[in-house]
Symmetry: C2
Subunit: 152 residues, 2 copies
DNA sequence: TACACTATCTATAAAGT
DNA sequence: TACTTTATAGATAGTGT
């Protein structure tokens, strides 16, 4: 290329390195584009300068390729967090519903009994505000059974 | 390049397209390597042939660049599914625990009452096996409050 | 930094093996 | 399919502006 052979090693002169980077970068992007068009190939190319500036070429759906990875990770996670939230709303485990319903029924039944047997109201209120710390139990429906791929 | 000018459009002849792909691909990878060395730049390049075969060049830490995207997506999702499962075990919402405990207490209380008032056992068993379909309620602790990033 | 210029080097299209 | 050859198109290093 040009005047004189090129040694494949880091160009020490900062100015030359920068100029060469600029030239070769555009050449590389052009070639990436050419092969994608000529050969009907999907290409993703990203180049960071020493200073961290980003340049990229990508065919169609490769939009995320150029994104900084932390940013990519963050977006994926945010998206997933949202999906989680949505999915959870759909879970509404039978256990939870069952407990609520059973609870209501038991409470109703108990109230009736209390009336019958003249138990003090005080006792009922104790139950309502009971401070809970019993060992918890697993959900009947493990999340792993959620086919989250279908959500995405 | 070579004999005759190149039109920047898909090469229709399949053989020629494949040959050109092979040549240009290696040229592109070589250039990617050269700019990374000469200019001290981080480069990530991936190329898929029409048939989906993958070729890549990447400086050091860009290992994931070469992964097929579906594969990447799948891995992320599998990882997240696992995290979800783990996270859920930690949620154990107060509501769930509260309901279970309250339920136990109510049941116990009711049993006592039943003994007192001589209610048939049959009635209690009806409550236990009640078919539930009441409107469900949201979890007290929305998943969005889970800081899933810390898990990863 | 970004364009020109241009001598020279490199990549590669086409064709042969 | 994968090399080899070879003519030529294309890329670019060095140099100015």
């Amino acid at each position: 290329m040009g005047r004189g052979r090129v040694q494949l090693k880091r160009i020490e002169n900062k100015i030359n390195r920068q100029v060469t980077f600029s030239k070769r970068r555009s050449g590389l992007l052009k070639k990436a584009h050419e092969i994608s068009v000529l050969c009907d190939a999907d290409v993703g190319l990203i180049v960071f300068s020493t200073k961290g500036k980003l340049f990229e070429y990508a065919t169609d759906s490769w939009h995320y390729m150029g994104e900084d990875l932390d940013s990519l990770r963050l977006k994926e996670l945010q998206s997933l967090e949202h999906q989680l939230d949505t999915s959870l709303k759909h879970i509404r485990t039978r256990k939870d519903k069952a407990l609520q319903e059973q609870n209501n029924l038991l409470a109703k039944r108990l109230k009736e009994k209390e009336k019958e047997s003249s138990v003090t109201r005080n006792q009922w209120e104790q139950v309502q505000s009971h401070e809970l710390n019993s060992p918890s139990f697993g959900l009947r429906q493990p999340l792993s059974s959620l086919n989250i791929r279908n959500v995405i």
